[in-house]
């Protein structure tokens, strides 16, 4: 499996402790994003994009996928980052530095898929944990993201998130057919 550096997006060499291209390590994110990260809530709407009804709709779409794929933990984070901030890098920091919730285990965090939406840059990124990253490649996640673009650009942000869940389920179901099981492992 090929891993990319969240700092420079280059392929990591055999030494996984730091990036051979840019010298990035996880600790550097503490310098880049100073301060304490917010708790990684299931839906973190930092820009006030959605009202309570929207949140309910998004939760329903997420719950439908969770029924089918119970291992995956989904997090939606909508932010407005300073210009030129790397979204994959921010997501990497958020997923790793954000403290576990009270009812959250470290394994669940590793099964987490974080969808990060930046209202400033108009970008979306998906950052999967160690356990969830094996099933879809970066290219697959980009395809999933692009499916939500048309809804997003028309202002139908809730439908865009629902489309994200729908497409993620389709892609993961395909991956599951090759590797998965009906029983909990």
């Amino acid at each position: 499996m090929i891993f990319h550096c969240p700092g420079c997006s280059k392929v990591l060499a055999s030494n996984l402790s730091w990036c051979g291209s840019c010298g990035f390590t996880g600790a550097k994110t503490q310098e880049i994003f100073s301060g304490t990260p917010p708790p990684l809530l299931p839906i973190l709407d930092a820009v006030g994009l959605w009202n309570p009804q929207d949140l309910k709709t998004i939760e329903a779409a997420r719950d439908a996928v969770s029924l089918r794929l119970p291992q995956f933990q989904w997090r939606i984070c909508c932010v407005k980052l300073p210009p030129k901030t790397s979204l994959p890098l921010f997501g990497f920091w958020l997923l790793n530095a954000s403290p576990l919730l009270d009812d959250e285990t470290s394994e669940q965090r590793e099964w987490t898929v974080l969808l990060l939406l930046d209202m400033e840059s108009g970008q979306a990124a998906v950052i999967p944990g160690y356990l969830s990253e094996s099933w879809l490649s970066d290219e697959d996640w980009k395809r999933v993201i692009k499916h939500m673009a048309s809804h997003w650009q028309r202002g139908r942000t809730v439908e865009a998130i629902a489309e994200f869940f729908k497409q993620a389920q389709i892609f993961l179901a395909l991956a599951w057919r090759q590797n998965g099981s009906r029983k909990a492992i």
Binding site: S9, V47, L49, F92, A125, P128, L131
Partner: protein, 258 residues
């Protein structure tokens, strides 16, 4: 060699002569059927007796379709009586149930009773032989030729009537029953075929629906992935980072909340 050939030719001609002599069809012009049912060209019986016997036979023929015809000949010229009787039957009898009573005065076995038409096809040979022997026996008991003929004709009529009632009608009834049964069987077979086709036609979409439901149900069941514990990277505890990022644009300002 020539002598042998001449002898063979003589033999063949002799046999041919005998056959011709025994065939009344060659010597006798039948013509149309006489109006009476008793043919007595030599006047063996008195005309009033001939008429009396004939009237009874004609009446039976007209009312019941049973055709008994009496032929009285002086001499058969060596021809077999059954052969002669059948020749007359072929020439003059048209009803399906028919018989010839052939009487030759002075012949101890006379009168001969020969059932013809459909009778030999429907009634078993054993039954015919038994009934004919009984009728012949009753006729033979009479002393006078006229009575022999009358008794033979009456017995033959009764014999044919019995067969019409017990054999022909039963056979017809059986045939009708068989036809009805076959018709019902054919109908059932046709119905079964139609049912089978309809069943198959219904079964295919039904299977499709069941398969579709099963797939849908299967799709709703939880799916689990094996745990691939990837090596920790860059000192990060939960995620090693990646670069799955894409431009999706910004939603219109009007759609944004507070």
């Amino acid at each position: 060699m020539v002598l042998r050939f001449i002898l063979l030719a003589i033999l063949i001609l002799s046999v041919g002569e005998i056959c011709l002599a025994q065939s009344p069809g060659k010597d006798f012009e039948y013509g149309p059927r006489p109006s009476l049912s008793v043919f007595d060209p030599s006047g063996v019986l008195a005309p009033e007796i001939v008429k009396e016997i004939s009237d009874s036979l004609v009446k039976t023929y007209q009312s019941e379709g049973i055709d008994v015809f009496v032929v009285i000949l002086i001499d058969l010229k060596g021809a077999p009586p059954e052969h002669v009787a059948r020749s007359f039957a072929r020439a003059w009898c048209e009803a399906p149930i028919q018989a010839i009573v052939l009487y030759v005065p002075g012949q101890p076995d006379s009168p001969w009773i020969v059932p013809a038409g459909r009778v030999p096809k429907v009634v078993s040979p054993a039954d015919i032989a038994l009934a004919v022997a009984t009728a012949h026996q009753n006729a033979a008991l009479e002393r006078e030729g006229a009575e022999k003929v009358r008794t033979a004709a009456t017995e033959t009529t009764a014999m044919l009537r019995h067969w019409v009632k017990d054999v022909f009608n039963r056979t017809e009834a059986e045939r009708a029953e068989r036809l009805k049964s076959e018709s019902q069987k054919n109908s059932r077979t046709k119905l079964m075929k139609v049912g089978l086709v309809v069943g198959v036609c219904l079964l295919i979409p039904l299977c499709g629906i069941i398969f579709s439901i099963a797939r849908k149900m299967e799709g709703r069941r939880p799916a689990f992935f094996p745990t691939h514990d990837n090596a920790r990277r860059l000192g990060a505890p939960y995620a090693g980072g990646n670069h799955a990022v894409a431009q999706i644009g910004r939603p219109p300002r009007s759609s944004r909340g507070a």
